[in-house]
Amino acid sequence: MPYYETSQEWLRQSALLLEARPSTTRITTTYHLTDKTGSSKKRQKRRQQQLQTATTTTTTTTTTASSAAPRASLTIKTYDPHSGTCLKYRTTKAAEVSRLILSLGQLGRKMAALPTDTDAVMVDAGVAEEVGTPGVEKTEGSGSASGNAGAKGQTQTQPPAQTQGQGQTGGGGGKGKKKRGKK
């Protein structure tokens, strides 16, 4: 199964899979040290050769560079052994970690067969009115409200999020152009 381009798409598909098979689906998150983003054997070979030639010529610089920053990647996989469905997403960006883990939490709610966050908000609001402790309950309500926005966004707010992502990549492209312009 190929990797998804965006984590939003992975999250959306995983949520659908969990809805269909809540008991058998599992989510595995693997943190690989050493960068495996270019995992084709040819590329690895080439990289090794480069390293070897580099080490023969300039030993000190390459060793310090490689030891200073051992790269890593994070692969997140939703797998259902019953249907054989496998959904994957991979990243190397540290900035994405906490968002991904929190989306694991969202999916965890589905696994636990908890009501979706929309229902939770309703319940929370009801509780807040009944108990009348606005300080605590309000924060809870607002927290789950934001969670609700995220969860609901699987269908509604995520298209904008995706466009944001595209915007970012577009920005990257823009940078490339800038560089060319400067050269």
Binding site: P22, S23, T24, T25, R26, I27, T28, T29, T30, Y31, H32, L33, T34, S66, S67, A69, P70, R71, A72, S73, L74, T91, T92, K93, A94, A95, V97, S98, I101, L102, L104, G105, G108, R109, M111, A112, A113, L114, G143, S144, G147, G172, K175, G176, K179, K182, K183
Partner: protein, 134 residues
């Protein structure tokens, strides 16, 4: 090995991430799934709908962590396996802490600003760096 409590689990997880720090290979595998073993689930009343789709009460979640070692390492007792069960009520708090620990533990991923310079043009990166800094 039985399941750890959530607090113990987090403590060991931090240890595991710390032990991976500064190494240039290895992996840490985190898994989560519904804990369906030994859980009361009603028998399927209808053949068309599986009974696990809408259980009467929320079920706990099983979280497992290993350091991805197998075979020889297992014999040498280097394989680390942790597991914990998170109740439905504890889920939000658990995942907040989980995210925090993972963020700190996965320090070898690319930091935010470096990722923009790298990636596309490695040759150009040097020139870009000088231009941006200048």
């Amino acid at each position: 090995m039985g399941h750890l409590s959530n607090d113990e689990f987090f403590a060991k997880l931090v240890e595991l991430f710390d032990s991976a720090k500064g190494k240039d290979h290895g992996s840490i595998v985190l898994t989560q799934k519904r804990l369906s073993y030994d859980q009361p689930l009603p028998e399927a009343t209808d053949d068309t709908l599986p009974s696990d789709l809408h259980p009467p009460q929320p079920l706990p979640i099983l979280i497992r962590v290993t350091n991805g070692k197998g075979k020889e390492a297992r014999k040498a007792k280097k394989k680390i396996k942790l597991s914990t069960v998170v109740g439905p009520d504890a889920l939000p708090a658990f995942f907040e802490r989980y995210a925090e620990i993972c963020k700190q533990g996965m320090g070898s991923l690319k930091p935010r600003d470096r990722s923009k310079r790298k990636g596309k043009a490695k040759k150009k990166s040097k020139a870009a760096v000088t231009t941006t800094t200048a």
